[in-house]
């Protein structure tokens, strides 16, 4: 079990709390909450040890298509593939932005 923390530059925008995903092998849960930290504060608990580089890659990939909002994001990962991770994070961001605007 590994715990990782990424603080990434982010844009202040209206978001609401969001929870998506599933606690099960090959999947993950993503929770988003508004934050006053001034950045995207991402906390990851993962069952896969030594996966920091892989997580950094996924986050950078998402940042290449959208600016992250200022938020606290908590992730519980159960050995999801990068494809599943990206899908779930984007699902959570969409939900967090949906009714908040």
């Amino acid at each position: 079990m590994d715990t990782l923390n990424f603080k990434r530059p982010a844009r202040a925008e209206a978001i609401r709390p969001a929870l998506v995903g599933y606690v099960g092998s090959g999947d993950l849960e993503v929770m988003i909450e508004p934050s006053s930290a001034g950045c995207a504060d991402i906390h990851i608990h993962t069952s896969t040890d030594g996966s920091e580089a892989r997580w950094r890659q996924v986050i950078e990939l998402i940042e290449s298509v959208m600016k992250l909002p200022v938020m606290r994001m908590d992730i519980h990962d159960f050995a999801a593939t990068p494809g599943v991770i990206r899908l779930r994070i984007e699902q959570a961001l969409e939900l967090a932005r949906e009714d908040a605007a």
């Binding site: 599933y22 099960g24 092998s25 599943v84």
Partner: protein
């Protein structure tokens, strides 16, 4: 026979082909036991499989030639003889205790259900795989759509005070988690042969975007 994800296949491991550019690690051919069908596309004559090693770190994606498959066992066939009743730890291990509780409830609903994951592998091979922290992994074959209220009702009827239970519904398009389909999220993750996607209609064939544009 067309094999589906979670089916266990017996093949000669030396005949397996690597899924990436790296050759298969030595433990693959040094070990024995069936391989597990993966949800991934494969060229004609091949099938995507995963190889289990001694522990979780030893997992490897590969391809098998269909012609090399000596025999196969589906998660549903595994259940037909109720192998958990003969397991020495049936009254102690939380996974087996939970399974003993759930099996009659699943059977009572005439569901075609099966055991996957480490317990399925253990029943198929007799090799001890269960660990104290193991979950119970089940799959239900659902060729016909299950409505969200039905899913919620099914999930509630399968509640137990035992171990964590992961139940996947196998639709013609892929697999979804029963708990997610029963939950409030509008879109759920469908694991397909071509990767995961979000959908609110996991039984519907994906519309071809090119056709839509016409």
């Amino acid at each position: 026979m067309s094999w589906r994800p979670h089916d266990l296949l017996w093949v000669q491991r030396e005949r397996l082909l690597p899924a990436g550019e790296q050759p298969l690690p030595d433990w693959v051919s040094a070990g024995s036991g069936p391989v597990v069908v993966r949800r991934a596309p494969a060229s004609s004559g091949l099938i995507a499989i995963g190889v289990r090693g001694r522990d979780k770190r030893e997992r490897c994606a590969a391809f098998a030639r269909l012609a090399d498959v000596e025999r196969g066992l589906t998660p549903f066939e595994l259940c037909s003889s109720a192998p958990w009743r003969a397991h020495p730890e049936r009254q102690q291990h939380p996974v087996l205790v939970t399974l003993e509780q759930l099996a009659p409830r699943l059977d009572a609903r005439a569901l075609r259900w099966g055991i996957t994951g480490s317990l399925g592998y253990e029943f198929a091979t007799g090799e001890a795989q269960l660990r104290p922290s193991s979950d119970l992994d089940l799959v239900i074959d659902t060729p016909v759509p299950v409505s969200r209220p039905q899913a919620s009702w099914l999930l509630r009827s399968l509640e137990s005070n035992g171990c964590r239970v992961d139940i996947q519904l196998e639709t013609p398009q892929g697999a979804i988690a029963l708990a997610e389909w029963a939950g409030p999220s509008r879109q759920v993750m469908l694991k397909t042969q071509f990767g995961p996607r979000l959908t609110d209609a996991p039984w519907a064939p994906q519309q071809d975007r090119r056709t839509q544009a016409c």
